[in-house]
Amino acid sequence: MDSGPSFSPMLRSGNRFDQEAAHRPILSFEQVHKAYRSDAPVLRGMNLSIQRGEFVFFTGPSGAGKSTLLRLLYAAETVDAGRILFMGREVGRLRPESIPFLRRNIGVVFQDFKLVMNWSVAENVAMPLEVLGLPERLIRTRIGEALERVGLGGRGSDVVATLSGGEQQRVAVARAIVGEPALVLADEPTGNLDPQLAVDILGLFEDIHSTGVTVLFATHDRSLLDVRPRRVIVLQDGKAIDAPNGLDGDIEDELRVA
């Protein structure tokens, strides 16, 4: 008998729990267009579906639209046409005051870490929990757990500026997962790290994924894609080429032709 915490979703009065919702994709891109310049669209009618609990690599050359795609997900950008559905909600139609609540379900890790350097590790990791207004004691407990998961247990009081690049990225990962989001986005998280550290960080994301979290990992580093076979989405010429079992020979040929 499972004695763990039960899942009791908060529903608005009048809304019934929809069993089907659990089986719908966590993310759907439907005919998504995005252009910063009219003569050079970044995404051209992109269609894509990602299931709950998937680990997906996004790859492609610089400027292919990897970061744009992730920014569209957390509503830092808006689509020009088409729609993106996150947990059944259309991201582009959210009102500005609803966007923070969308973001509370998404953890984001960046290439440049985006850490407050003169704060302690714990202060940085606490940010998503403080925003939620959780009690101080619970925040401390969850920071401790998150730091343990990223291999920085007991380092909460260290000032971030004194950590190595790999450790700083681990702090950023801890911050992304401490709020237990449904989706973790990693935008070139290993771009500033040496190859061994990059593999370590990838392993960290795989650990996170093993707990049921959906992970979208954007990288242009092909060597990371070969570490373990995963679904790979290649962004090229504004379209998404889906390789469900990783980049095998056929896909490589297709990319070369394209």
Partner: protein, 288 residues
């Protein structure tokens, strides 16, 4: 972590920036507080002189002592008069020359007419004193009657100008405080760009991000105003220490500092301006 704690953390990290801002706000408020201090004292002086209840009756040179005594008795019997003192021409000369002014010593006797110094009860209405003065001045022996009404009117006019100047200054200060605090907060926001960006990315609402900055703005305005009052109080203390006695003798009252209500209002105004400036300056800068 409360907004106050977050503001304290931000302020601690950018303390130099905040100190500069507070000093600039204080300079602006010193000007306003100094103008108000002058207005308060001029108002007090006008009040004091309006209630001074004094008149000087100057006699023509040919008036005899008997005529003077008769007029003195008549004035003494008038309603509200508490004391009458006769100052002869010689006494007036001695009083003036006693101050050692050699230029005045050359003046003729006519320049020092005999006079009656009339003291009226402070509760007496100004109109009654004016009536008494007009009756007395109609007497053929009387050269003129000075009731200091002109001075009161002049002071009232100075006061009106002072209040107008203070209002203009208040607007200038308002502009200066808003500008200084808004610039400081914008600068602080730039320095804490990453913090703000991350807060927005982890789901902080705009008001959650703004709150510590607004607290910092309010603190800058309030502390700036308080510092201005402290500076002014110190300057006031120095002036009063050195000149208070002479000023008291010269104008008939001791200078006073700003009332508590003014001081509390000024600090509250500083805080309010700082908060509004901070809120306004962040309105368009929180887009992530």
């Amino acid at each position: 972590m409360t907004s106050l704690q977050r503001a304290w953390r931000g302020g601690k990290n950018d303390w130099r920036l905040h100190v500069l801002s507070i000093f600039s706000v204080a300079v602006a408020f010193v000007c306003l507080a100094a103008a108000l201090l002058v207005v308060v004292n001029v108002d007090g002086l006008r009040d004091r002189w309006a209630r001074a209840g004094r008149a000087s009756i100057y006699f023509k040179i040919e008036t005899t002592e008997a005529q003077v005594r008769a007029i003195e008795n008549a004035v003494r019997a008038a309603e509200g008069v508490t004391d009458v003192r006769y100052v002869s021409s010689d006494e007036a000369r001695r009083e003036v020359l006693g101050r050692g002014d050699q230029v005045l010593a050359a003046l003729p006797a006519a320049a020092f007419p005999a006079s009656l110094e009339v003291m009226v009860d402070e509760g007496t209405e100004g109109g009654k004193l004016a009536t008494l003065a007009s009756r007395v001045s109609a007497l053929p022996q009387v050269e003129s009657v000075e009731t200091y009404q002109d001075w009161t009117e002049r002071l009232a006019s100075v006061l009106t100008s002072g209040v107008t100047a203070s209002l203009v200054l208040a607007f200038v200060v308002l502009g200066a405080v808003v500008s200084v605090v808004a610039s400081t907060i914008r600068l602080a926001l730039q320095r804490r760009r990453i913090e703000v960006e991350v807060l927005k990315l982890v789901g902080a609402t705009d008001s959650y991000v703004r709150r510590p900055f607004v607290v910092e703005g309010a603190a800058q305005g309030g502390i700036g105003a308080l510092l201005a009052l402290i500076l002014l109080a110190v300057l006031y203390g120095i002036v009063r220490e050195n000149l208070g006695g002479e000023l008291g003798v010269l104008v008939g009252m001791q200078p006073v500092f700003l009332p508590w209500t003014f001081m509390i209002s000024m600090v509250a105004l500083g805080s309010l301006l700082g908060a509004v400036a901070a809120w306004g300056s962040l309105r368009r800068l929180l887009v992530v």
